[in-house]
Amino acid sequence: MIENNENSVDIKTPFIEVRDLAFAYEDADGRRHEALRGVSLSIPKGQFVAVLGHNGSGKSTFAKLLNMILLPDKGEIYVDGELVSSPVEPDEDTIFAVRRRIGMVHQNPDNQIVASVVEEDVAFGPENLGVAPDEIRRRVDASLDAVGMREYALATTSHLSGGQKQRVAVAGVIAMLPECIIFDESTSMLDPSGRRDVMKTIQYLNRERGITIIHITHDMSEAALADRVVVLSDGELYLDGTPDEIFSRPDKLRAVALDVPQSVSLLHELAKSVEGFRVPDCIKDAEECAEYISMEFDRLGISAR
């Protein structure tokens, strides 16, 4: 199920490129608090990137810089090869063009829905862009289809479950036809089934629509689904690689208070204690992990019971 998307990722043209990005918050007393220090990163079109890092490591700040809610103190941001931020002060049109191309889904499902009716909320983005009414209608229907919420088009937003609200928020972003969507811990407030639905939607958008995904998360099993994992620590780029590369170094992750996915750590533990047990090349989700373990046990002639 987890195929490497590498072939569909166009390495040559980075969609987002940041060079030496730095940002500091200034508090009321004028003291500066460095949230991001010299991060350089290049994200190709169509890649699914998971961003990890402990609380306060600068993940949200990074996301806000990418869609220009914040402007960097230092460093450059290129979107599709075009310099959009620093050293030149971007004009308003550039900012809104970037926000349309790089959409964002936030953490709290309650605080990002604007309208009381699902379809009105999905229409909010395209309405802001000045899209013609018929076209908005088409986009709203298509976006709700894409997230599997079409039957709720006329539902009251406050009556939906958390996962459904997040999918409505995703639809609201898709309706603006973005090329990249940033999810800032969008699954963290959801129950397991809500998480699963949102993750499925994210994977669908990435694979079928070729939308670049930047998924900020604390959940290692979600990160394992990505093409690439980026770890931030104290505002700096700490690790960058495929999930397999990152998760095969649990010690490095633990040094920044992160952990490997449970399935991965189970496989490593098994390899240590069961003679002949091989750790698979690519990371498995829980179900496949269970299947794999029973297959290995069969092969080694161990009864699972």
């Binding site: 959409g103 309650d110 604007v114 009381s116 802001n128 862009l129 013609a132 908005i136 009251t156 406050s158």
Partner: protein, 273 residues
């Protein structure tokens, strides 16, 4: 408790429900003016008949309308007393000490009560019961749009309304949660005098406000992310359009206006003074 958002609105399929909100707003304004034009018994009877007809056409239960009148019971009683005792006339019906009740006083009281009732029922039947808050907001924005030329922030007001409607259920739910949490810690909201109860609410209001500000902050960022930049250059998915039924309803209202004026002049059974 969650359904408070829908407020007064009763979804339905009647002609009044389906009318364009702008037409309904216009209809309501005309209706209110007509109530003040109608001064004779005949005219008010006619208006009552039209109102009752409209009420029946919506398919909303009469009990709901009665409930709508309840909050203004005080106003009705007050008006009745005022008119009964303060109106002077020729024909004295009752006298006791300083209290004089004239026939005109009785008549006036009845007519005023009918007027006030019609006013409330009319705004219920034409607006609040048959128009969802959202389409009401859209209608108001569209009708008032010309005012934005003289720098009245029409779009902003309608955005505020939209967001308020969206967040009322969320905040109510949150209030519920905080109240339960405080109750679990031994807070008591239901006993003691007014001041004690108000004090007991303080630990509910403070976290509620803190969270409301946080929500506002996050919502503002989310709206910016979705390219919100005010009303300028913004389009709408749903464009309001007048239909034949709006014309028909406005026509009925025009006939009513004409009939009321004629009744006022030619059938002056009793005229308010």
């Amino acid at each position: 408790m969650r359904d408070i958002t829908l407020g007064q609105y009763f979804p339905g399929n009647s002609a009044l429900h389906k009318m364009d909100p702008r037409a309904k707003l216009i209809l309501t304004v005309i209706f209110i003016v007509v109530i003040f034009v109608a001064r004779s018994v005949s005219a008010l009877l006619l208006l009552s008949a039209v109102t009752i007809g409209m009420m029946c056409s919506t398919g909303i239960s009469p009990r709901v309308y009665l409930r709508g009148i309840k909050p203004i019971m005080f106003v009705i009683v007050f008006t009745t007393i005022l008119n009964l005792f303060m109106t002077r006339g020729d024909e004295l019906l009752f006298e006791w000490g300083i209290i004089h009740i004239y026939r005109d006083g009785v008549n006036n009281a009845i007519l005023m009560v009918v007027r006030i009732t019609l006013l409330v029922l009319g705004s219920c039947v034409f607006l609040s019961y048959t128009t969802s808050p959202i389409s009401l907001t859209d209608g108001l924005e569209s009708l008032l749009r010309p005012l934005s030329k003289i720098h009245v922030p029409v779009h902003e007001f309608s955005m505020i309304m939209t967001i308020a409607l969206r967040f009322i259920p969320t905040l109510i739910e949150e209030t519920d949660k905080i109240m339960s949490a405080q109750k679990a810690r031994g807070a008591d909201f239901s006993s003691g005098g007014l001041i004690k109860r108000a004090k007991a609410l303080l630990p509910v209001l403070i976290p509620l406000f803190v969270s409301a500000f946080k929500r506002a902050d996050e919502l503002a960022v989310a709206m910016e992310c979705r390219c919100y930049r005010g009303g300028e250059g913004r389009t709408r998915m749903k464009v309001l359009r007048y239909h034949a039924r709006d014309g028909v309803m406005l026509g009925i209202m025009a006939l009513t206006v004409a009939a009321v004026v004629i009744a006022n002049i030619y059938v002056p059974i009793y005229r308010l003074r």
